[in-house]
Symmetry: C2
Subunit: 341 residues, 2 copies
Amino acid sequence: MEKKLPTIKEIAQRLNISVSTVSRALHDHPSIGLRTKMQVKKLAEELHYVPNQTAIFFKQRKTYTIGVILPNLREEFFSLATSGIEDKAFENNYIALMGQSHDSIDREKTLVETMQKHRVDGLLVSISKNTSNVDHFQSLLQFNIPVVFFDRVPDVPNIHSVWCSLYHSSMEAIDFLIKKGHKRIGYIQGPDTLSIKNERLQGYLNGLKKNKIVHDPSLVVSSDFSAEGTQKAMDQLLALKNKPTAIITFNDYVALDAMQYVRKKKLKINKDLAFVSYANLPITHYLETPPLASVEQFPYDQGARAAELLFKLIDQKESSESHPFENVVLNSELVIIGQGK
Amino acid sequence: MEKKLPTIKEIAQRLNISVSTVSRALHDHPSIGLRTKMQVKKLAEELHYVPNQTAIFFKQRKTYTIGVILPNLREEFFSLATSGIEDKAFENNYIALMGQSHDSIDREKTLVETMQKHRVDGLLVSISKNTSNVDHFQSLLQFNIPVVFFDRVPDVPNIHSVWCSLYHSSMEAIDFLIKKGHKRIGYIQGPDTLSIKNERLQGYLNGLKKNKIVHDPSLVVSSDFSAEGTQKAMDQLLALKNKPTAIITFNDYVALDAMQYVRKKKLKINKDLAFVSYANLPITHYLETPPLASVEQFPYDQGARAAELLFKLIDQKESSESHPFENVVLNSELVIIGQGK
DNA sequence: AAAAATGATGCAAACGGTTGCTTGATTTGA
DNA sequence: TCAAATCAAGCAACCGTTTGCATCATTTTT
């Protein structure tokens, strides 16, 4: 059954010429006569010859393949980033291998090994929530395979990275809320296992300081991102004698859960309690009462920029240029959505 | 710079033995002496030897790679399907190459060629909106590379496919609305270029017939899925002398646009005008006034099932078994979300 | 003690394509 | 007319790994 695919060898035999001639003919090498070229191309066409890339990859030591490892594709943020990566890859004649770590460090390790086995020319990674060191990427570096981290960037020196700074937008968010008259602003953050820079909180704190508001630690609570975790966080905030009038949430998903919970409590969103969050997912614009504002992190662009950087590194490697560590920082943007009171 | 990677040849030279011995030692072949085995393994470890998979792929004529081609990753439906595919691939020790057609038939063709060049062991495809024939998949079949279509399945015979039938749920949706007292039910469909089965409309029509309601063609309008297109469609429906009291929309995105438009018109959603749609995206559950119901199409499962079928076909091919065309049909489910009046 | 079985290792071909070097034939130049 | 230049094509090595088939040295069997 297993139909053997045509090879240049077969073409050579049929035409009674050597394989090298066939190879050169197919590549329009100048030293091959026109007649021979035509014959070869015609037969190749007839046999539906397709060069065996695995042989070529093997010989050229290059696969035109990059690996992409990220926590998951269910979150819109990552699927948009992937979309950007794929678009850039397509433009550059590369193709991307996908892997989801599902925030498991073991699975992340396995994926790195698999990608390495497949001899990817480079790797794009958004690390799992539980990844605290980057040892499992070391062997890639030994192989001289470039790695670019994006969005979830490990907090270690000497890496290439692309991420979106939330610091300024976080401060802007505070300014925005204070201009609206809010003085007690709560913040629901994530679990503190994330070993990445906590720019949201830094911006929050400095925004308060800048506006001469004393920081009240009881206004900062944590959620594990589950609906229940967020509800608990909300309970903490609403139990305060001096309740917040506005709340900043780690991301839109947390905001959605929080807002739904608040609705159940018969509080008016953006009237009794204002919301600002991160991500600016398209869906928030469809809500009857959306958060007042959300910080856009440009996932598509992050993916695209990370891919561009990776291709640059691959090219540099091939021309044995030096490549200092590069860290691209995009700026987030505070997008005003709702009207509020 | 380009550091040469260690090979079994190098190990062989250093230990003054043959490459075949090294190869066998690393594979724990019984005919290799214990001492030699130990020596080889120790040295391999020291050199950080990693077998060159491109050489092995080449020799074995198998890459443990599958291709995935779908319209785009921005739509949650497809990113969830991809998530299912990747999970199954990981389980089966495969890895997936991603490609987005962006509903361009040319890009789809290019992707098919690229995947073929990369010698994928199989291909999963959700065809582009503009794909009306499947000629560009023919060469894969000649190569005996299995192809499984999912969700957006071309309407041609002799293919493998996985899709989710909307027929029964569409009828159920009608039953559901009629039980709620609705008699005039509108339907916003998509552009009619889609060459796939139109089960939504079939279910709509048969649902009406079953409930002995005469079909009024002016209640069926089209949208190109843009916000403007949907608004125009709504205008058509609301301009009727005998207006609908309920509307079924092609998908949740259309429903969201329609509902937002209706809100602007100061109509009460699910009171003046009830909505039912398709997709059951997580977000609809966060709306203050969600559609009454949405048809869940199980994108993750579709992806997972399609991947499973593909792996089965690959295995069968390897054991030269016969493989009749298989068409897996999942059932959609009408999920009741809101309360309505 | 000679024949047979066993154990440990090496040889070489194969997978498909690329490419530097050679060779032979034809054309060009003086 | 003969050497040099040009053209067209072939030879063979190479990329890294696997594997059927020798080969040779022991050990076991009778």
